[in-house]
Symmetry: C2
Subunit: 208 residues, 2 copies
């Protein structure tokens, strides 16, 4: 095999690999998966690495049923996440409408779409998952936190900048009250909201 | 480039591609994405193509909050799905415990992890999402429907066969009462449970 041919094949493999990571996994940074014995690191990693999840509210239209909805989110600029999930929602969608009536909410994320679970089943406890439960709150327009949410979201979801003005999109946050984390066998990991929020995310970054 | 080298490179590219689809996307079949103007086809495609989603219940432990949880599911043997999502859950996990107290539930799936949304944001309405709302019911042990659920789940999730007997896993189904489908601009698509359940899934399959 000539040097040029070998190089061509190498590049084809490389770009195929990188292309797949980009489009399928939607990851912005390459960050090592933390040790499952460190629940705070594990939880913050799941939240910082994912770009979407399922946001749950109570639907009065559907007899008080729990209503899950696929949404994009961001907890901060890449490598500088706060652990607090921010959302950009319109009241044309049931989730924002529900939250304005009843703030009880949860937000659920899986490790599976990141591609780091290998051949494990998505329900295998060593393929991590997290549910943050709390109150879904709309942020006051032009407030400092609305600006933080905007920067966090628009960097990870550049398409949002162009979403229709007339659709009344607003910034929301989840005020976390409880954390359910499974990242290994043996049941949920004990993790307080304080431990989660005060974890230094800088320890997770290896490629900035 | 010699024939052997070219063949080697081809195989490397091929297996990398197939391997990624297997491990990251968890898809069992290659099925074309239906026309968004056919809501029943679109909904059944999303349900048959995905292997996991977020199952939502009401948590009495968390003050009646809606509680989402990542779970695996199956709606049938590949190419023979019924549209009804079946689950294999243990009461060691809050979701099954919640459902046995209050059956109100929803199940949420995104097109995003299938890799067919391209560069679109996961919250872009043309990247499809579905929420099936209804009642989460445990299936009677050894009943005909429990056998159907078992075959459906164990084919798509072979790892489940080996899950610990002592954990009291049981088969559950979602009895669908309402369908929320977004697969394009312009709000949710009108789709009744009847239209959804009676759609002939055979029309979707192009590679069996």
């Amino acid at each position: 095999m000539g040097t040029k041919s070998r190089t061509n094949c190498f590049y084809a493999l490389f770009f195929l690999l990188v292309g797949f990571q980009d489009s399928v996994q939607g990851r912005l940074l390459l960050i090592n998966k933390p040790d499952p014995n460190d629940p705070a690191a594990s939880a913050r990693w799941l939240v910082s690495q994912n770009s979407w999840g399922v946001l749950n509210t109570i639907s009065s239209d559907l007899g008080g049923a729990p209503f899950g909805n696929v949404v994009s989110f961001s907890d901060g600029l890449p490598g500088k996440g706060s652990g607090i999930p921010y959302f950009y929602l319109t009241t044309l969608d049931p989730t924002a409408k529900n939250a304005l009536q009843d703030q009880r909410s949860s937000f659920t994320i899986s490790e599976y779409p990141l591609g780091t679970c290998g051949k494990k089943d998505p329900e295998n406890p060593s393929c991590a998952k997290i549910t943050l439960t709390g109150k879904l709150k709309v942020l006051k327009e032009n407030s400092k936190e609305a600006e933080i949410a905007k920067s966090a979201l628009f960097v990870k979801h550049p398409e949002m900048r162009g979403w229709p003005k007339g659709h009344n999109f607003q910034f929301f946050k989840l005020d976390i009250e409880d954390i359910f984390l499974i990242n290994w066998f043996g049941g949920p990991k004990p993790l307080t909201v304080d431990q989660y929020l005060h974890y230094k995310v800088i320890g997770l970054v290896d490629s900035l």
